[in-house]
Amino acid sequence: MANGKKPYSLDRRRFLKASAGAVGGLSLAGCAGMSTGGGGGAGAGNVQGTPVAGLNNQDVEGKTNITVWFWDEGLKYAVQDYNKNNKKNVNVKFVKLSYDDTHNKLLTSLAAGSGAPDVCAIEIGQVGNFVTRGGLADLTTEFEGDQFKDDMVEYKWIHGSNQEGKLIAMPWDIGPAGMWYQPDVFKRADLPTEPEEVGKRVQTWEDVMQLGQDLRKKLPNTALFADAFNDIFVPIVEQKGHGWFQNNKLMFEEKGTPALQAAVEARKNKVDANIDWWGAEWNEGLKQGAFQGMMIASWMQTGLTQSNPQLIGKWRVVPPPEGNFNWGGSFLTIPAQGQNKEAAWDFVKYVCCTPEGQNAIFRSTGIFPAYKPAWKDPLYDQPVDFFGGQKTFRLWTELAQNVPANVVNPNDRQAGDVVGNEITKVEKQGKDPAQAMKDAEAAALKRIQGIVG
């Protein structure tokens, strides 16, 4: 009240100032909390998740109760079977979280030193962060996990291991991939329609370019793919093994440049429709026939069954040109802080390393086993309605062979973002691919310590 002019306005102003300070302080604290990991992970020990139909997620008295986090409802089929049949007196509670929450809450509970589940799924895109830094149980040393090494798809085992070759994340599912197309559309363009003939026609990436142009000639409004920077760029990169590192050496130029050049050429020749993947536009483009197919992995079947049921039975798939690649897939891990690690290991073994566990999930969801003995089930030789009766399950098992692998790196995600930024410049601003990859390498070397170019 220093100037004593209008006391009421002064009071109000002081009040407003005080509240501005309080609100500002709170939002800053929220921001600070997020960066320490305290925000997202608060109360991680009692994470509720989305209820899953058909599961009773209560502790059962007299049993060892353990918790598992995963983002897809499909795990419940294995949980139901396991809870009924296991001999170790274990009761599993399945907490379904979003993909982001699963990883972020795992991270924050590891950082806090408590609150992690007994078993947690992690996805291939996140595996580099989690297996290289401790915090998760070493399955090789603690549980003799190596007994399953020969039963698992080779590259998947490498992805789940740290740089010393110890298995941290147990391989669960894989994403064998191929070229998806619609024979009805090919027929209208006077192209071969049977998978055998189409497969013969796409032996090289050059063949794919030709096929795309032939399709456009007959059907000017339909492209072979939606987005060359996904459908062509990603497969060519993945054919040299997942990730941007070989040991600690950056592979931007070796892997990125040829893949980008192919994508740019495809865009120029209208092999793609120039529609970004993974969004409303992509879905609309598929519905309207702006593009007819894609290069993607087996798990896409589940998503397309839900989003585009009108296309069930219209799909066929052929092997990708110039070698197999993998896209996606997950692992199960056992956080080191857990109290019931033996029980957790028993459950992980059931889900990942038995035909019953793997196939209980696969049969209902299409989550494709990395565990090779599971493929002996007659299920894998059945025709698949979604692909018009093509025996694609057997095809996926073949496409899961001979995929190259790189050991994961703790800097995988940052390197991916650095190169991702240069890719946007190539795609949207016409930057030269070779120059872009050179710049990406310089930027990565500047931002990430301990790597070589």
């Binding site: 500002g24 320490t36 991270l107 401790g134």
Partner: protein
């Protein structure tokens, strides 16, 4: 809060001779009654902030758990000064702050109209303007990505009706910031309208009447009566807007690729705000120390912006 401090200060002045302990005992129950706020604030407000400040001097991936950090002194801050992406993200955030301040102008005009008595069903408008604040950000993101779609988007469809070429709103480095700003303005103008309306309603009507009797025009009344009397409210909203805009997170994250994007911030990182970058450093790259240094630097910048605003235009001069 202000009155509590004043009261306590007065009392301790009175009881100087009897000592502090006596005072604490005498006011034991009042302290107990106000303690929940301070306890909660200490745990959820103060502790994370102090901890983040500490973390800004260490290197820590988080995965190894507490105690696995290494002290690096000022190295995180030195790295920050030389990080071109940090400066770029800061530029993006300041750009968005400047442009999204447009929502204050819109809000002020709307509040003035609502308060003028020319409009019926004031409450309906007030609720409608406020609705975007309540909407879930995921729903907002879905709606706006559909609106901004390059090929099938509504906005480009409208543009094509009047013969204009479509714009790659979310995919081009030029348009991503205006697109984000549009969403932010749409989301927050209602909030500010309601605050301004409350401010306008507290201005006594006899001032307006007196001015009109003296022959002042509406623009003159607005300029010489409404604006000066509304100044504290405006200061409040501008400072909130500084805090909010420099911490933009959800809207840029959703519009420029989403949390799983391998090119956060979109083409040429034109939509990468400081907080999105900070989030990536912490949760994608697991550099919690560096991210904490960013949050401390951001805090200083926000305080600086608020202080400069307050000293230049926000304060009433004698």
């Amino acid at each position: 809060m202000a009155s509590t401090t004043a009261g306590a200060g007065g009392r301790s002045g009175l009881g100087q001779k009897r000592g502090t302990w006596f005072e604490v005992r005498r006011s034991f129950w009042p302290y107990v009654f106000i303690s929940p706020f301070f306890i909660l604030f200490g745990i959820f407000g103060l502790f994370p902030y102090v901890y983040a400040f500490y973390l800004s001097f260490v290197e820590w991936s988080g995965i190894g758990g507490p105690g696995t950090e290494t002290w690096v002194g000022l190295r995180n801050y030195q790295a920050l000064l030389g990080d071109d992406l940090w400066w770029k993200s800061l530029y993006n955030s300041v750009w968005l702050f400047v442009v999204t301040n447009l929502n204050l102008v819109i809000a002020l005009v709307l509040a003035y109209i609502l308060n003028s008595g020319l409009i019926r069903f004031k409450e309906v408008y007030r609720a409608a303007f406020f609705a975007p604040i309540v909407a879930s950000s995921v729903a907002v993101a879905v709606i706006f990505t559909t609106l901004f779609g390059e090929r099938y988007g509504t906005i480009n469809w409208v543009l094509s009706l009047v013969g204009l070429p479509g714009v790659d709103w979310l995919g081009s480095a030029t348009w991503i910031k205006p697109a984000i700003a549009t969403v932010v303005i749409w989301r927050y103008f209602g909030w500010n309208t309601v605050i301004y309306l409350a401010g306008l309603q507290s201005i006594p009507t006899d001032l307006y009447e007196a001015a009109r009797v003296d022959g002042a025009s509406w623009p003159q009344i607005f300029r010489h009566i409404t604006l000066p009397l509304l100044r504290p409210v405006i200061t409040f909203t501008v400072i909130l807007s500084i805090i909010g805009a420099l911490q933009l997170f959800e809207e840029p994250l959703m519009l420029a690729g989403g949390s799983q994007s391998t090119s956060p911030g979109g083409t040429d990182q034109a939509g990468l705000t400081t907080l999105v970058y900070l989030y990536n450093q912490a949760f994608s790259y697991l550099k919690f120390g560096y991210a904490s240094a960013m949050s401390v630097a951001l805090f200083v910048i926000i305080v600086l912006f608020s202080f400069v605003y307050y000293r230049t235009v926000g304060r009433e001069r004698d």
